[in-house]
Amino acid sequence: MNPIEMNPVALQWLLYFGAMGLIVIGIAGVVLHQNIFRMVLALAIAEAGGNLLLVIAGFRFGAVAPILQDDALQTLNTSNMVDPVPQAMVLTSIVIGVGIQALALALIIRIHQRYGTLNMREVHACMMVDINKSAAVDDLLSAQQPRGRRPLPSPPESTAKRANNE
């Protein structure tokens, strides 16, 4: 069946469900996965959904691509064309997406070389150890962390004496 001949409401929901489904699948993948490589792939899926949504925003019924060809070159008739602005924006967004994915993959390669794992939590734990080490801080001790275990050790002798005097 020609999609243009479909019921417009059904076509609208088909297109919107497709695009938004891709976005939701991508976001869910980013949230659910522990493996950072899969998170990048999920982000790529979400990006595809976003691009599709932008292209759908420029859709017109019965319109053609915004390129003058054959007969239209003589008549210069541009009235039955889809919106060119979302297409130009998607062109931009695809190229930027490629750059960002390449950068993310480069970082992932480095992380795997350094820590030998792609699990987000393990990588995070290893990174914290490294960061603490480079800042010359004890591994498990930060300024915000309570020192010692509960019950807390009794205060030193001098403070106890001062409290008695007062």
Partner: protein, 237 residues
């Protein structure tokens, strides 16, 4: 528990997106700028491909920013992966003998891909395609030998030269428009006959610059990624 929260979050996101979608009717553009551009682009820019007149004519600075983002991503990638490329001399990773089928098909496809990429770049103002699409095909042409013959190195100096010159050419064309009394990156020259190869003023020149820059950047980026994987394979042996 964590998965349940994530699923709830995704469901809520889907619901919100659907509520937004409910307010738009399909085929009824939410923006008015598109209709105005469709009416005036042929007279004002003179490119048969109206997407090109938006990308380079009306939103040229956006394209410049986009090239800058791509450049930043490529630079950052080579910075993150870079130390191998520095130490990894071509003499160290010996160039392995290529298989005859892979080698001949690469030699066959390289000129074809080069021609196709350049064709798409040069005809960016007439047909679907343009600098970005053609540039990716050019990058594919230069990446093919690296895939077929692991350990083969690519001329990084030449890539940097092409990249620098094409980026400078894009900005110079924009500055020329600025100094001739127009806005930055405004299309120059006569429009010519619409639909001919030499038409649409300076748009084809801009797209050639974009195409060469994208091609050089992406092939450098892919070569970096390929170089590190072949290095890892060497280290495992």
């Amino acid at each position: 528990m964590r998965n349940l929260t994530a699923l709830l979050f995704s469901g809520g996101l889907a619901f919100l997106l659907m509520v937004i979608a409910w307010q738009f009717t399909l085929g009824d553009a939410p923006m008015l700028i598109g209709a105005a551009i469709l009416d005036n682009a042929v007279k004002e820019v003179g490119a048969a491909n109206l997407v090109t007149s938006v990308v380079l004519g009306y939103r040229g600075i956006d394209t410049l920013g986009e090239i800058a983002i791509l450049f930043t991503a490529a630079t950052a990638t080579s910075m993150v992966l870079g130390s191998f490329a520095m130490t990894d001399e071509a003499s160290e990773t010996e160039q392995r003998e290529d298989g005859s089928i892979l080698g001949s098909s690469v030699r066959l496809f390289f000129p074809l891909l080069l021609t196709l990429g350049l064709y798409i770049i040069v005809h960016g103002h007439l047909t679907p395609g343009g600098g970005f699409q053609g540039g990716v095909i050019l990058a594919g042409a230069f990446f093919l030998p690296l895939l077929a013959i692991p350990g083969r190195s690519i001329n990084h100096g030449g890539i940097a030269l092409v990249e620098g010159f094409s980026g400078a050419a894009f900005i110079l064309i924009g500055l020329t428009a600025l100094f001739s009394g127009q806005a930055f990156l405004q299309p120059l020259f006569e429009h010519g006959v619409i639909g001919h190869l030499f038409s649409a003023g300076s748009l084809p020149l801009l797209y050639i610059a974009v195409g060469l820059k994208v091609g050089a950047e992406l092939s450098g980026l892919l070569a970096n990624l390929a170089g590190i994987s072949s290095h890892a394979a060497e280290a495992e042996k």
